[in-house]
Amino acid sequence: MAQAKRSGRSTAQVRASGARSDTRRFLVGVGRAFAGALLFSLPILMTGEMWHLGLHIDPYRLALLLVLNLALLTRLSRYGGMRHTSSILDDLADSLVAFAIAILASILVLTAFGVITDDMSFREIIGKVALQSVAGSIGAMLARNQLGGAGVKRDREDAEKTYIGEIFLMLIGALFLSLNVAPTEEVMTITYQTTAWHKLALLIATLVVMHALVYTLEFGGTVQPHPAEGFWGIFVRFTVVGYVCVYAISLYLLWSFGYTSDVGFEVALGASIVLAVPGAIGAAVARLIL
């Protein structure tokens, strides 16, 4: 079939077999995506705070999170999709499939764990399922790539070598790890039990770890910077900018989950430093493995 495609023949037979193989690939992709959704969202599917958040999260903020998530998935589809998408419409189709799979996975798991039952109100069930679908859909999208064939990955690497591409992948990594940690009450507990000095030290340590993970520890995907680029150039362009993005994601998640309401401005900023610790690790590792 590859042979036929390459030679540019477009007989009806080739087209039919192409459509069949597209369908088969799609179904395999759905299976992988389901596994990915489980892998990525089981930690928060089994987190009590996340269930409770489903109840009392502000509906506007949850709706905004869902819409932003779709935009993010559509962009991610360029990198992580199971196939080479040729248009934004295909990316959107991939994203909606990932979303549908995540919703299904959330409903199944939450029902199996007895988190959603028939005596709950519609609003409660919707809140719980919709909230959980965010991490699940990112997992579903990534799984098509990470658990997928080698060919997809290699081609994808060409696409991500832009600066914005790198920063975007860091955002995905940060979002994934932060989503797992943000709902837990420990973020606020740590914020309250640490002093400003602790937080300053955390911020600096996070920057150091973030930079070291990507550039010096020689993991499999260690990025080789251009020799002409000095340490500070790379540090500012990737690590500092990356950290600021991670910090923004942390603040956004805490705001979405309502942890920044009823607290002072400093507390919200401090909590974001705390949440940026896992987020930054996620961002750094995303650059290595994604």
């Binding site: 590859a2 495609k5 390459r6 192409g18 459509a19 597209d22 369908t23 799609f26 179904l27 759905v30 409770h52 109840l55 009392h56 502000d58 509906p59 506007y60 949850l62 709706a63 869902l66 819409v67 779709l70 196939r83 080479h84 998408t85 040729s86 419409l89 295909d90 959107l92 189709a93 991939d94 994203s95 909606l96 499939v97 990932a98 979303f99 549908a100 799979i101 919703i103 005596d119 709950m120 109100s121 609003r123 409660e124 919707i126 919709a130 064939g149 080698a150 060919g151 997809v152 290699r154 081609d155």
Partner: protein, 139 residues
């Protein structure tokens, strides 16, 4: 083979087809997403802050070894979620409280029910059984 296919696909990006079944699943996903967003926005608009209104009713009474179990259902008719809802049950005989039992429900969400049980050492049917919610906190 896989490499070859991947290469080929790259060269013929414009020919990458989205199979019909994917469009169908995508349409379902899109419909769910639109419904969710519309529903949530509607929830936001129609949200009024009627405080939790918790009513407690007896579901059934069991006699077990040494105690009586009063199973109850707490229902929140308001549209704010109540947390740490304290349910108290009293057996009143001749105007006097002869037995008291308490239970705490973690959450009673808006328009939802939660179930629990109160244990009494005496038969609650020997007097008047009164169940009510006595306190809650905002989550």
């Amino acid at each position: 083979m896989a490499k070859q296919t991947a290469r080929t696909t790259q060269h013929t990006r414009s020919e990458s087809h989205t199979p019909l079944v994917e469009w169908i699943v995508a349409a379902v996903g899109g419909a769910i997403l639109i419904c969710l967003v519309v529903y949530l926005v509607w929830c936001g608009i129609s949200r009024s802050s009627i405080p939790p209104q918790i009513t407690v009713s007896v579901t059934e009474i069991h006699e077990t070894a040494g105690s009586y179990v009063v199973a109850f259902t707490a229902r929140n008719a308001g549209n704010l979620t109540a947390a740490s809802v304290s349910i108290v049950g009293e057996v009143v005989r001749d105007g006097e409280i002869v037995a008291t039992a308490r239970a705490v429900l973690d959450f009673v969400p808006e328009s939802s029910e939660r179930k629990g049980g109160l244990l009494f050492a005496i038969d609650p049917d020997d007097g008047e059984l009164v169940l009510r919610a006595e306190s809650y906190i905002e989550p």
